[in-house]
């Protein structure tokens, strides 16, 4: 196993032994269960409410884990000084960053798989049809979470945990709003406002592109081309951020 693999497996093992993640996944299970109660309260569209709530719970918990564990991935190593003995080994700093990232990605994959299993079980118990669109939605959610993890990791290579959290949360919110903002200023006559929105649109991740929960909940599948394009976009965006994280981390003093 290469150095990236050794670090990734260790990061995965660390999260497996962290009780907080179990609690979050349990919380997701509760939220999915709650969707059944809410569906009972609604007059129509029981199936849609359960599917909607379930997908939202998986998304929410996935993003929380990606954001907060992503932020602490590097900062915790520096604050606890465990980085000293790692960096004294024959591995490059980039391999360390990539190993930590893939370790968390593996953790998120396992967590999302568990949440998806609970979700599918709930759907099955309440006779909600299990449409392929639900799997598409979860696939793009995972891509979104990979992007959020990369954002958190990028900021944590040069700022404190608190600032990383603020920046990551900010970029996450902007990432879901840029498309709407751009649409709003599309018909304006230019000026600074339009230029700023255009800049934000191209610089910030278009996370709304990865959000197909609404249509998935009513069983409308996305075109395969869209799935490929959106997934590629997310992976490339994460790749650019990881490259930036590696470059910044190369120059950092411990």
């Amino acid at each position: 196993m290469g150095a990236i693999g050794v670090i990734a497996v260790n990061a995965f093992r660390e999260s497996l032994r962290d009780k907080i993640l179990y609690n979050l996944v349990l919380f997701a299970g509760l939220l999915i269960g709650l969707s059944v109660l809410l569906a009972d309260l609604s007059i129509t569209e029981h199936h849609k409410v359960i599917a909607d709530m379930g997908l939202a719970a998986i998304n929410l918990i996935g993003v929380i884990i990606a954001m907060f564990v992503g932020i602490s991935l590097v900062n915790k190593e520096i604050e606890r000084r465990t980085i000293y003995t790692i960096m004294a080994r024959p591995i490059s700093r980039s391999f360390f960053i990539l190993g930590k990232y893939f370790g968390l990605a593996l953790t998120l994959l396992v967590n999302m798989s568990v949440m998806l299993a609970v979700f599918l079980l709930t759907l099955w118990l309440y006779h909600v049809p299990i449409e392929p669109s639900l799997f598409q939605a979860v696939q793009l959610m995972f891509v979104e979470i990979l992007v959020v993890t990369a954002i958190a990791l990028f900021f944590s290579t040069f700022t404190s945990s608190t600032l990383s959290a603020i920046f990551t949360l900010g970029l996450y919110v902007i990432g879901h709003l840029t498309a709407d903002l751009r649409a709003m200023v599309a018909n304006s006559e230019g000026g600074i406002g339009k230029a700023v929105v255009d800049l934000l649109y191209y610089l910030c991740p278009n996370l709304e592109m990865l959000n197909i929960k609404g249509q998935a909940a009513v069983g409308v599948a996305a075109a395969p081309e869209y799935m490929i394009l959106a997934s590629l976009y997310g992976v490339l965006y994460a790749g650019v951020l990881l490259t930036g994280a590696c470059l910044v981390f190369q120059r950092r003093d411990f």
């Binding site: 196993m1 150095a3 050794v6 670090i7 260790n10 093992r13 660390e14 032994r17 962290d18 606890r80 000084r81 465990t82 980085i83 000293y84 003995t85 790692i86 960096m87 004294a88 080994r89 024959p90 591995i91 490059s92 120059r251 003093d253 411990f254």
Partner: protein
């Protein structure tokens, strides 16, 4: 052959405020550590010891100067395969068991699974943690953490071992074990470079020492060369039944006079005045109990250099003794 060479190594950190001078952590440090020797790197807290070690390991970049380890520039990734490092007050992944922990570092060093398993067994026995192999590190005492830290530094059988305050937090038995371990490393041809402020350990095991004060190397060489142990620094005389109060002869000879009841302790700055003082004691009809010469020690040198640094005398390298 020198395993560590630093030439005019400096490190400064910006103050963060415009107009304020940067904080200088290291100021033109030049030293060499020869292959197969134990080199003690001494200095008070904040002198620049850890900064030097961090530069050597590539954890921190020097502002100027250069450092070579095993003939390669400090921070070279491939060279780290031949180096073992124990940081000061190590904090490790406390969710790992002792054997998982060593296995992790073995794999990071590029060892095969089979070799790692074998080395884990050997090192757990070597540092006396064979019984605790399946225990998580969060349940380890400070001394046990220090020992498992040493084991991780040695897991890949490095040629050069760099230890930052390896005796910190250890009881006398633990300290002796670490000393013996360091000596056994030298016997196997390894080079050991360790920082400490425990002077006793340095005097006992080091071939050479370097003393760093305020980021500058102020002394460097063999312990016996540095402290000139044939040189008597002071003489303590203990006697009874003499009157020291108002005795101008005694007070003019002594640097310190302590009268406790019938017994009196007199400290002379050199052996030259011993005969005169003994004559005075006899003249008064007193009884001489002991005459103890005090030779210079590393501690004396250390405190001398610390005083020099504190008084902000321009830093220097002790003439004729430093590299």
């Amino acid at each position: 052959m020198d395993d560590i060479v630093t030439e005019d190594l400096s490190k400064s950190y910006p103050s963060g405020w415009p107009g304020r001078p940067p904080f200088v952590a290291l100021d033109g440090l030049s030293l060499t550590v020869r292959r197969g020797e134990i080199f003690g790197f001494l200095g008070p807290n904040g002198a620049g010891k850890t900064t030097t070690l961090k530069i050597l390991l590539g954890l921190v970049r020097a502002t100027s100067g250069r450092a070579l380890l095993l003939g390669e520039p400090a921070g070279d990734v491939a060279t780290r395969r031949r180096i073992g490092f124990l940081p000061e007050s190590p904090y490790f992944y406390d969710y790992l068991t002792a054997e998982e922990f060593l296995g992790f570092y073995g794999q990071l060093a590029g060892l095969s699974r089979a070799v790692t398993t074998q080395r884990v067994d050997e090192l757990l026995q070597l540092v006396g943690l064979g019984e605790a192999r399946t225990r998580q590190l969060r349940k380890f005492s400070k001394g046990m953490l220090q020992r498992i830290g040493l084991a991780q530094a040695l897991i890949h059988d490095p040629e050069l071992v760099i230890l930052d305050e390896p005796m910190t937090g250890l009881d006398p038995v633990g300290r002796k074990q670490v000393r013996d371990l360091i000596l056994s490393l030298r016997d196997r041809g390894k080079t050991v470079f360790f920082s400490t402020h425990i002077l006793h350990d340095v005097e006992m095991i080091c071939d050479r020492v370097g003393i760093v004060m305020k980021g500058r190397l102020v002394a460097n060489g063999r312990v016996d060369e540095l402290v000139r142990q044939d040189h008597i620094q002071s003489v303590e005389i203990v006697c009874q039944h003499i009157k020291t109060e108002g005795n101008t002869l005694i007070h003019s000879l002594a640097t310190r006079v302590l009268q406790q009841g019938q017994q009196c302790l007199i400290v002379l700055p050199s052996p030259d005045a011993v005969d005169t003082l003994v004559g005075e004691i006899r003249r008064q009809g007193g009884r001489l109990l002991s005459v103890t010469p005090h030779k210079a020690s590393l501690e004396d040198l250390f405190f001398h250099e610390a005083a020099q640094a504190a008084s902000r005398v321009p830093a220097h390298v002790i003439s004729g003794r430093a590299s």
